[in-house]
């Protein structure tokens, strides 16, 4: 960027992509393990304990198992779409990493529309879920896919409205600028409502409980991925956890000061660690929520979105706009 040289920029992108791929895999492995541990300890059981110290290597073994499985396609399923869907669900998730500000300067490509990019690409996940559910030739999968679309249409709006209130304050869509402007006061203290709305909508966006209605294992067996086995399922799984990391990382950048320590105190910890600590804490909260609540019904979810979240976020946005204008 600073040099403006094509070569160095390309190099940066390729290097970034390699790191992102490696990181997203490791991160997903770690998160799956963490999820099991958190759920285990909440439920008074130890979680995986057998493979590696405290079961750390359990997910690797599970991954190996998934890779080793035969790819089974249901009869009369749409072959192309059926195999396209897992790829489609995973690829856009990676794009989000491009603009995530891990630390000062530690950003693969600092775009001035970074925020927009993340949300634009995360929407493709819905398309992939619809594709997978439709191509499976399974009624449960189709129901899951349809639910997923309905849910995401409802939740994109409050999500973006909540983000917009932050963008209005910074006058920029670039992540690094948003983070830089939170050097002393995190936006969560200025915009608590937007933060809450963002976190709720993000949980719904990533299809996590209590908003896991497209999967809804007690209702729709496994929802959109009922027919997927082996690595097809593995990719859906991987995408879910990577997606979770991204929405939490975005939340960290937008509301929790990104790489900044609280109130400008860094305690000598490098920015990237602050960023990761906060992100993983948010992920922990999302897991905690998942293992506490029952699932909402999808019409209630829509009600909640249209009657509560959207009005509140709109009011919040208008107030923010007015206050920003006055100041």
């Amino acid at each position: 960027m600073s040099e403006g040289l094509l070569g160095s920029e390309l190099f940066r992108l390729i290097l970034g992509l390699v790191i992102v791929l490696a990181f997203s895999q490791l991160n997903a492995l770690f998160l799956v393990w963490l999820e099991r541990k958190v759920s285990g300890h909440i439920q008074l059981r130890p979680g995986p304990m057998e493979v590696g110290p405290h079961g750390l290597l359990q997910t690797i073994i599970d991954g190996v198992k998934l890779v080793g499985k035969e790819l089974i396609m249901p009869l009369k399923a749409d072959r192309k779409l059926f195999f396209l869907a897992p790829v489609l669900v995973f690829t856009p998730v990676l794009v989000g990493f491009l603009v995530l500000p891990f630390g000062p300067g530690l950003i693969i490509h600092d775009m001035n529309v970074g925020v927009l990019l993340v949300f634009a690409f995360s929407t493709i996940t819905v398309l992939a879920i619809l594709t997978g559910g439709w191509a499976s030739n399974n009624k449960y999968a189709l129901l899951g896919a349809v639910r997923s679309v309905a849910q995401n249409v409802a939740y994109e709006i409050p999500l973006l409205l909540a983000v917009m209130s932050v963008v209005l304050m910074v006058h920029s869509l670039s992540f690094s600028q948003i983070v830089a402007s939170q050097k002393t006061v995190w936006f969560v203290f200025i915009q608590p409502l937007a933060c809450l709305i963002y976190l709720i909508a993000a949980t719904a966006e990533t299809n996590r409980a209590p908003f896991d209605i497209p999967e809804a294992e007690s209702e729709l067996v496994a929802g959109f991925h009922t027919e997927y086995g082996g690595m097809g399922f593995g990719l859906f799984f991987l995408a879910e956890y990577t997606n979770m990391f991204i929405v939490c990382a975005v939340a960290t950048s937008l509301f929790f000061g990104g790489w900044n320590g609280p109130f400008g105190i860094s305690l000598g910890i490098p920015g990237v660690f602050w960023f990761l600590i906060k992100t993983y804490f948010l992920i922990f909260v999302i897991m905690w929520v998942r293992w506490t609540f029952p699932r909402v019904r999808f019409d209630q979810l829509m009600n909640f979105s249209w009657k509560v979240l959207i009005p509140l976020s709109l009011v919040n946005l208008v107030i923010t706009a007015i206050v920003v204008k006055i100041i």
């Binding site: 008074l44 029952p294 699932r295």
Partner: protein, 373 residues
């Protein structure tokens, strides 16, 4: 008729097989659903996958040989079924039961009732998508199983009651364990209330969902907590007290609307009432014999017939036995509560969402092998 034609001629309607292999049809139940989008147009439960011919087996056996079968019909309330069966045979043969044995039976039965309701509580939340309460409930249920294991030697299919008493006496350790359990549960009720009963998501999922009107309940013969949720305080333990239930002070919780939330609350409070009964029974547990002496090994009751009703965890359950003077019953029939409780779904499910169907199915607390038997 008009309605039916509308359904059959409608191209929007498609059918979905809920079960027999589905995470939420506990046991092997299959429900044929006709759906319009996610709305249920018609629901048709299909039963019979778990048919083992228990009633016929009963007719080909001696009375005592049928005893282990009884706990395998409704495997979640095995003790209650054992209890009901020995009550029926004792009535048929005119066997007197010692006081101590009666109290022990009541304690064991009520413990079993709590364990059955706890399992229902856990799996119901599992149906609604909350996984953690399931494990908490199982943790508590484990304590009950340990207690029952200590007296009967088995954890699920107890075969504990005998004609004229019970098979093993209880000791101080049992009383201590039971008291500890009652104490433990006091704190747990509060936790469950915070975690589930007050939870806004849970309330929204169950309130006004699957309303069984009193009229409908009466038509289908719905009993147990499902009927009590409609506001009728009908409980065999109170209306025709068997054993020593008339000596205890307990309430019969009732609901008002008959929706899933009422059924939940009724069962929840029933567990607390069972704790009260156990507490009183432990207090007044008399000393003495646990078996009537002189019950012949090969019991041949005089000619006659007997109908004995008792309150299982799911509702009014009854044994009807006909004796022709031989060592086995001439006719053996069992009235199971789940049959009525399941068939009411024919009328309750249409018009609801698939997600509601699961919530309703869970809330009526079915044990399918009991229906199929």
């Amino acid at each position: 008729m008009d309605e039916l034609e509308k359904i059959e001629g409608n191209e929007r309607v498609y059918s979905l097989n809920l079960g027999p292999q589905h995470p939420s049809t506990h046991g092997v139940l299959r429900i044929l659903l006709d759906l319009d989008g996610e709305y249920i147009v018609k629901a048709d439960p299909v039963i019979g996958y778990g048919h083992r011919g228990h009633e016929k087996m009963g007719e080909n056996r001696q009375y005592k040989q049928f005893l282990p079968n009884t706990s395998r019909m409704d495997y979640l309330s095995g003790m209650l079924y054992n209890h009901g069966f020995v009550l029926a045979v004792e009535k048929l043969a005119g066997i007197k039961v010692p006081e101590r044995a009666k109290y022990i039976r009541v304690i064991a039965s009520e413990l079993n009732r709590i364990s059955s309701h706890l399992l229902w509580f856990g799996t119901y939340l599992l149906d609604l998508g909350g996984i953690t309460p399931f494990l908490y409930a199982f943790d508590d249920r484990e304590q009950i199983l340990d207690i029952l294991d200590a007296i009967s030697g088995s954890r699920l299919t107890y075969s504990y009651c005998r004609f004229g008493g019970v098979s093993r006496d209880v000791d101080m350790k049992f009383i201590e364990m039971t008291r500890a359990f009652l104490k433990r549960m006091e704190a747990r009720w509060v936790d469950y209330e915070d975690l589930v009963t007050k939870n806004v998501i849970f309330i929204h999922r169950t309130r006004d969902v699957g309303v069984i009107s009193l009229e409908l309940a009466r038509q289908y013969g719905v009993t147990g907590p499902n009927l009590r949720a409609c506001g009728v305080a009908f409980d065999v333990r109170r209306s025709e007290p068997y054993e020593v239930y008339d000596r205890f002070d307990f309430e019969i919780p009732t609901g008002s609307k008959g929706d899933a939330l009422d059924r939940y609350v009724v069962r929840f409070r029933e567990m607390q009432q069972s704790c009260r009964i156990i507490d009183q029974a432990l207090e007044h547990l008399p000393e003495g014999e646990i078996m009537t002496p002189k019950v012949p090994q090969k019991l041949s009751p005089p000619k006659g017939e007997v109908y004995t009703a008792f309150e299982s965890a799911r509702g009014l359950t009854a044994y009807y036995l006909v004796s022709d003077g031989s060592p086995g019953p001439y006719r053996c029939h069992i009235r199971v509560p789940s049959f009525g409780n399941l068939n009411v779904l024919n009328d309750v499910l249409p018009g609801t969402l698939v997600a509601d169907a699961i919530a309703i199915l869970g809330s009526v607390d079915l044990v399918i092998p009991e229906i199929d038997r």
